[in-house]
């Protein structure tokens, strides 16, 4: 899997959120290795054709989530520390959020014309990938 970020300025999702979501996936899935430096804010903003603050905001949010380490506000690197183990209540809350989002996603995809069977098939394939 290549480390690509794809943004769509026409999408209703804010650009900073698009960047955060995609970078999070790349980090969690290990495409971006621990301690790997990310492009400078200005350079990434230039390439994406967005304002510098948009990219800076994305990096800040990821740093708050513990996925990035920003040294002295300059170089952003993928965090090396292990995630703090969540408590039972937090785990329940996170699982509830997952269910909620999956339901929303399924509803949206159905409204766009995908069948329930197709969606179920894709989710099953995805769960197998996760297990692997």
């Amino acid at each position: 899997m290549s480390a690509q970020i794809r943004i769509d300025p026409a999408s209703p999702t804010p650009i900073y959120r698009q960047i955060v979501d995609q970078l999070r996936v790349l980090i969690v899935e290990g495409v971006l290795a621990a301690a790997q430096p990310l492009p400078p804010v200005r350079q990434l903003a230039l390439e994406l054709g967005v304002h510098f603050n948009t990219v800076a905001e994305s990096y800040r949010l990821l740093a708050q989530e513990g996925l990035l380490e920003i040294s002295h506000g300059r170089t952003a690197r993928v965090a090396t520390s292990d995630h703090v183990a969540m408590g039972r209540a937090q785990q329940q809350e996170a699982l509830e959020m997952l269910r909620q989002r999956v339901r929303q996603l399924v509803a949206e995809l159905c409204s766009r014309g995908l069948s329930r069977k197709q969606i179920a098939h894709e989710l099953l394939r995805f769960s197998k990938e996760l297990d692997a």
């Binding site: 492009p39 230039l46 994406l48």
Partner: protein, 687 residues
């Protein structure tokens, strides 16, 4: 205007213009097609198949024909208007006609391009809003490369500063304004900037180059930090190679241009002790440098063409390309993007920095015209705060005129005038008249008296040296002029000594000046010296004599007032005080039937004989003098009061007359240099 003239004029003016316009049209058409094949057609993003469609072919053909017809029409217009306009005044209208022609051609072609683009827009591809970035494509340039690059980019500014300092240090060596013309002087007469003699004119090449360097630095900044890597091609290695090549080209051209400017700026010092190379050598070097610049520039352009990246991503919306040529997108942080029209890159005018670059670049170009060359801007300071640049502010066209201005200002207690005087004397170390005038002005205002004395001594010494070779029988008008100048210089040195309180020095030089050339001014100086010594009678005596010798009416009025103050007799009429010719009786002298002139050569006691050497005025070939008569003359004349041990010689002309009724009743009267000059003016000697 005759028919033949009209044909010649058309050949000279219209044919080159037609060629230039045709070349411009062809270049335009070629540049329009440059971006073809990169999914951009007339600055509009289209599907790749569109360029092969009938519509595209139709639009392209119509645009080509329109551009060619516009060019032909303009050439025809010029050709038709030449006979009419040429009969008015060709040198006046030609530049405006040429300028108007190029502007009309350029605007016309842009308008046609815009029209063609409007026809392409309906076929524009669907706007692709998504942008993809590969995080692995970010490659940082090494620190050494960056350091080296920025040093190379910034160093030319240091070079310009060093040149400015060098010019500043040798400002006094720059020759005064001249009418020297250069550049396009043969076609459109224009003076070289520095020949105007203003500080702005002299520093102008450096100012222009500084603007160009600032523009280059901003472009380098844009290439380094404000451009999209993904727009330099799809392959990582070639696009970095291309980018480095572009950046290196910028540095190379910047260095070549700056060095050329430095040559240009130093040209005023050519032929001086600061730069012994002659001006023509400078010009030759400058021309060679221009040729080198052109060759290297073309080579770099050719290399860029070969190495240009392919398949570069262009995600900019079509609406951001105003008129299909100018990129204006405030949402895009990129300062510089690949051009959709023509070769290379263009600025994103939606960013303030791009405007800054445009304005600074425009200043660099405009500075060619602003200033002394074409447009006179009176509000522009001509000295630009030059601390030693007093002389450029003078309206005089010669250094002697500027010196007089400075002395006037010094009398009005202008603090900068003394510096101006010193600057002018430094620039004219061999001009004795300037040295003398400067010393006189400083003495009158009691300013920098030790330096004034130095100036006066240098002038006196040089003038005495000039008179060292004076020979009897070979007297020339220049010799007479030199003698008068020497009297003037002695008087100045005497005046400076008097102001310094050196009475002995003052008396020696003032008396020598007065003896050599009795003038009102010299006598007043002697009178003041006597008055300072408390000898009012002697002062009054000098003042009375002052009224009877050549001098201005103003000087004589001052003398009369001074005489009144001293309680002396104020003359009823000036002629009462005219000194009676001092007749010197000559012993043992044969009677001559007619008066004749004798030239007496006085050599300084330190270098020559103690007594004068007489000879007949060389225009009197029919007379002869015996040795006894010569000795009589030599022994009768009082010695000349040489003020110093200088090597000068003085020739004084004397008129010898003999009474016809008595034996041995001849006498001699010495003439002043003024009288001799008057004599020569009426009867030029056969030299």
């Amino acid at each position: 205007m005759t028919h033949a003239h009209s044909i010649v004029f058309e050949v000279i003016i219209v044919v080159p213009l037609a060629l230039i316009l045709a070349l411009s049209a062809c270049t335009r058409l070629w540049m329009t097609g440059w971006q073809s094949g990169s999914a951009s057609f007339y600055g509009v993003r289209v599907d790749p198949e569109f360029e092969r469609s009938y519509e595209a072919s139709n639009i392209d053909t119509r645009y080509t024909h329109q551009v060619l017809w516009l060019t032909v029409a303009l050439i025809g217009l010029v050709a038709a208007s030449v006979p009419m306009l040429a009969s008015i005044n060709p040198p006046r209208w030609v530049p405006f006609e040429v300028l108007g022609l190029f502007v009309a051609h350029s605007l016309g072609m842009q308008g046609l391009y815009w029209r063609a683009r409007q026809k392409v827009l309906p076929f524009a591809a669907a706007l692709e809003t998504t942008r993809t970035v590969d995080l692995a494509s970010f490659v940082e340039l090494s620190l050494a490369w960056r350091l080296g690059y920025w040093t190379a980019i910034l160093l030319p500014l240091g070079l310009l500063a060093a040149t400015a300092l060098y010019l500043h240090a040798h400002f006094s060596l720059i020759p005064p304004p001249t009418n020297l013309r250069g550049g396009f002087g043969r076609i459109i007469p224009q003076p070289l900037p520095w020949t105007e003699g203003t500080a702005y004119g002299i520093y102008k090449p450096l100012v222009r180059s500084a603007f160009m360097n600032l523009t280059a630095i901003l472009v380098a900044y844009a290439f380094n930090f404000r451009s999209r890597i993904s727009e330099w091609g799809t392959d990582s290695k070639p696009r970095w190679t291309y980018r480095k090549l572009l950046m290196s080209r910028l540095v190379i051209l910047q260095w070549l241009t700056t060095l050329h400017t430095v040559l240009d700026a130093l040209r005023p010092l050519a032929g001086t002790e600061a730069l012994p190379m002659s001006s023509s050598h400078f010009l030759l070097l400058s021309l060679l440098w221009s040729v080198l610049w052109s060759i290297i520039s073309l080579l770099l352009l050719f290399t860029l063409y070969r190495k240009r990246p392919r398949g570069a991503a262009d995600t900019a919306p079509d609406r951001s390309w105003k008129f299909g040529q100018y990129y204006v997108n405030p949402q895009d942080p990129a300062l510089i993007v690949p051009a959709r029209f023509g070769i290379g890159h263009t600025l994103n005018l939606g960013q303030p920095w791009a405007w800054a670059m445009t304005i600074i670049g425009a200043f660099a170009i405009a500075s060619i015209w602003i200033g002394p060359n074409y447009i006179s801007l009176p509000h522009l300071p001509t000295t630009l705060g030059h601390p030693r640049g007093a002389w450029p502010s003078s309206t005089a066209t010669t250094d002697q005129g500027r010196l007089n201005d400075a002395i006037d200002r010094l009398k009005q207690r202008d603090g900068t005038a003394a510096e101006m005087i010193h600057q002018i004397t430094q620039r004219n170390p061999g001009d004795l008249q300037i040295l003398n005038t400067a010393a006189h002005g400083l003495a009158l205002t009691k300013t920098d008296l030790p330096i004034a004395r130095l100036y006066a001594q240098r002038a006196v010494a040089a003038k005495e040296q000039e008179l060292h070779t004076l020979e009897l029988g070979a007297l020339t008008r220049d010799d007479i002029s030199r003698e008068r100048s020497l009297a003037q210089f002695w008087d100045t040195l005497g005046l400076v000594c008097e102001r310094q309180g050196d009475v002995d020095c003052a008396h020696r030089y003032l008396l020598a000046a007065w003896t050599l050339s009795p003038r009102t001014l010299f006598a007043t100086h002697l009178a003041r010296l006597a008055e300072e010594q408390g000898d009012h009678a002697q002062a009054a005596a000098y003042l009375r004599q002052a009224l009877g010798v050549p001098g201005s009416s103003g000087q004589k009025q001052n003398v009369e007032r001074r005489l009144q103050d001293l309680g002396g007799n104020v003359p009823d009429a000036q002629h009462q005080y005219a000194p009676q010719p001092k007749e010197i009786p000559l012993a043992h002298f044969a009677r001559h039937s007619q008066a004749f002139f004798v030239d007496l050569l006085f050599a300084n006691a330190a270098t020559g004989a103690k007594r004068p050497l007489p000879t007949l005025g060389h225009e009197q070939t029919s007379l002869s003098l015996s040795n006894q008569e010569k000795a009589s003359i030599a022994n009768s004349v009082p010695p000349f009061p040489f003020p110093d041990a200088g090597p000068e010689r003085i020739i004084v002309r004397a008129r010898v007359t003999c009474a016809q009724d008595q034996r041995s009743a001849c006498s001699m009267r010495l003439s002043t240099p003024d009288e001799v000059r008057e004599f020569y003016r009426s009867e030029p000697p056969s030299l």
